[in-house]
Amino acid sequence: MSQILSIRRAAALAGIALPLLATSVFAQDAVNLRMTLWTANEAHLKLFNEIADAYKANHPNVTVTFDSLPFDGYTTTLTTQIAGGNAPDLAWILETTAGDFVNSGALSPLKATFEATEGYDLADVTQSSLKLWSTDGEIYAYPFSTSPFGMFVNNDVIKAAGQKTPAEMIAAGEWNWQNAMAVNAAVAASGKQGLIVRDFDYKVWDNLASIWNGWGASPWSADGKTCTMTEQPMVDAMTFIHDAIFKQKAIPGPGVSADFFAGDAAMTITQISRASLLPKENPFSWDLVPLPAGPAGEYAVIGQAGIGVFANSKNPKEAADFLAFFTNPENSAKLAQFFPPARASLLNAEVLGKANPLLTPEQIEAVVVKGISTGVVKPGHAGFAEIQQTARAALDALWVADADVPAVLKSVCDRIQPLLAQ
C-alpha cells in the first residue's frame, strides 16, 4: 500500500514537475519574431508562413508572426508602434522612407549575417538594388521587391473608341506620351476614363515620377540638397500632365473616382503585382506594356521595398538570421512570383515567367526584366514624409484649370528647399 502511495506521489510530482521543467527550458530559448508588412493578401501570407515553417523545422525555438498593417499610413503606424515601445523585430520599409530608416540608426546592420550564411551568395544581389538600403558600405535592409512601373491597358475600351492599341503603337514605333495621351483623350471623349496614375489621387504626387522621368525631370538634385522642380524638364512634364488633365481630359480630374481594374479606364500606371486585381469574371482584353517614351527617350521607374531588422529588437541576431533565410536564393525564387527579386540569377524571363503565370514572356521581358535593369527608383529623401506633405500642400494649387504651372512649381521649391537643405 505504502509502495503504491509512494509511486503515486512520484507520478504526481513528475506530472507537475516535468511540464514545469520543460516550459522553463523552452522559455529560455523561445524566440518570437514579429514582422510588420503592408500586404494582407492571403496568397502572400501563405507563402511567408510556409517559409517561416521551413525555418522553424531547423530552429524549433523560433516562431515568426506576420503582422499586416494597412498600406495607407503604414509608416505612421510603424513609428507609432516604435514610439510605444512595441517595435517589431523586422519590418517592410517603403523606398520613399528608406533614407529615414537607414540613416537614423533604427536598423541593425545585416552584411555580416548575410556573408556568414551558407549558400546566401550576397554577390548575386545587384548593387543597384542595394544602393538605397546601404550606407558607408553596410547593408541595413534587404530589397526584397524591386517592382517596375508598367502600363496596364484595356484594349476593349481603346478599340471601342476607334484607337490603335498600345501593342500596335509599339510595333509601329509610335509608343510615346503624346500619342498615348491622344488615345486616352479619345477614350475619355467616348464616355470612359483615360489614364489613371494609380494611387496618385492628387495627393501622392511622387507617383507622377512614372511620367516625369520621361522628360528627364527629378524633384531634387542627385545629392538631395537642391530643389529642381523649377527646372525646364519638370516644368515641361508638369505642363504636359496639367494639359492632359484639364485640356485633353485624358486623366480623370481631381475628385473623380474611377478604377481601371473595374473596366472604367483605358490605361493605368502601376506595378506588376497589381495584375492580381484583373477581373476574373467578365474579363476585358488587357495588356501590360512599358511606359511610353518621353521627350528624353525611353525610361523605366521602379518602386522598391526593403526588409530591415530593428536595432532595439529583443532578438536582433535571430531576426537577421531569419531574414537571411527568408531572402536566400531558394526563397527569393519563391518570393519572385509576387515580388520581382534583386538577385541577378533570377532576373530572367524564364524564372519570372514561372512565377507570374498571368504575364506572357514578352510582357515580362519588356516591362520587368528591362525595367529592373534600366529603371530609376522613385524619389526618396531623408525626412520624406514632411517633404511629401509640404510639397503636396503647395502642389494643390496646380490642380485647377487655370493654374500657372511655373509659378506653382516655384512655390513648391520655396517651401521644400529649407527641408532639403537640412
Partner: protein, 309 residues
Amino acid sequence: MAVATQQTPDRARKRPFWTIERRDGLAGYLFIAPQLIGIIVFVLIPLGLVFWYSLHEWNVLAGTFKFQGDANYRKLLADPAIPEVLGATAIFSVGLVILNMSLALLLAVLVNQKLKGIVVFRTLYFSPVVVSLVAWTIVWSFLLQANGGINGLLGMVGIEGPNWLRHPTTAMISVIVVQVFKNVGLNMVLFLAALQGVPKELYEAARVDGASRFKQFRRITLPLISPTIMLTSIITIVGSLQVFAQIAVLTQGGPGMSTTVLVYYLYQQAFQFHRFGYGATISILLFVIVAILTFAQWQMRRRIVFYEN
C-alpha cells in the same frame, strides 16, 4: 484630576482605529476611487508626460530623447504654419458652433410639436450620432466627390456643382457640414429636453398678454433654456477643437493648408514627421486654448444665462 489623567491613555488605547468617521471616510474614498484613479492615470499623468515630452527633442526612429528646454516653444512661436493652422481651426470652430447650435435649436423646436409620428423624426435626426464616425465620413467622401452623389443630384436640377473637397472654401464648408450633420442630433435632444422643461403656464400668460410667437420664443423660451445653450456651446466648442477623423478622411488638411486644423497639424508633426517633442508642444497649445475658452465661457454664463437652478 489624577484619575482623569490616568484614564486618557487607557481610553486612547481602547479606542479602535476604525472609528465610524474613518470608516465613512474610507467608504467615501473607495466610492470615488475608480473615477479618481481614472483621472490620475488617463488624464493627469499623461498631461504631465506631454509637458515633459514638450521639453525634449524626441525622434522615435533614431531613438533619441534629448532635453532642450524651451526650444520647442520658441519653435512654435516662430513656426510660419501656425497662424494658418490657427486660422483654419478658428474658422472651423466658429462655423461649426454657429451652424450646429442654430440647426439643433431649430430641429428641437420642430420636433417639440405635438404631431403624429414626430418620434420618427426625432429618431431620424438623432440616428447619425450613433453611427461610426469614420464610416459616416467615408460615405460623405463618396458623396462629395466631383462625380459623387451630391453633384449628381445638383446635375439633375441643372446645377453644375463645385469640386467640393478641392477648393479651400468648399472643402472647409464640407468638413463643417459633415461634422454638424453627424452631431446635431445630440444637441437637438438636449435642447428638446430643455424645451419640454419650460412651464406651459408662462406661454399661456404671455398669450393672454398678447405676445407674438416670436416674442414668446425670445422672452420666455430662450432665457429658460439658456443653461442648456451654455452647456451645449461648451461641449460643441471643445469638441470642434478636437476634430480629426473628418479631416484625415476627407481632405488630409488640404487643399493647401486650408483645412489643417490644430489637431491634424499635431498628428502630422508627431506621427508623420516623427517629431513627438514638437507634437507634444502643439498639444500643450491646444490644452491652453481649450482651458481659456472654457474658463471664458464659464465666466460669461453670469451675463448670458438668465436662469440657473
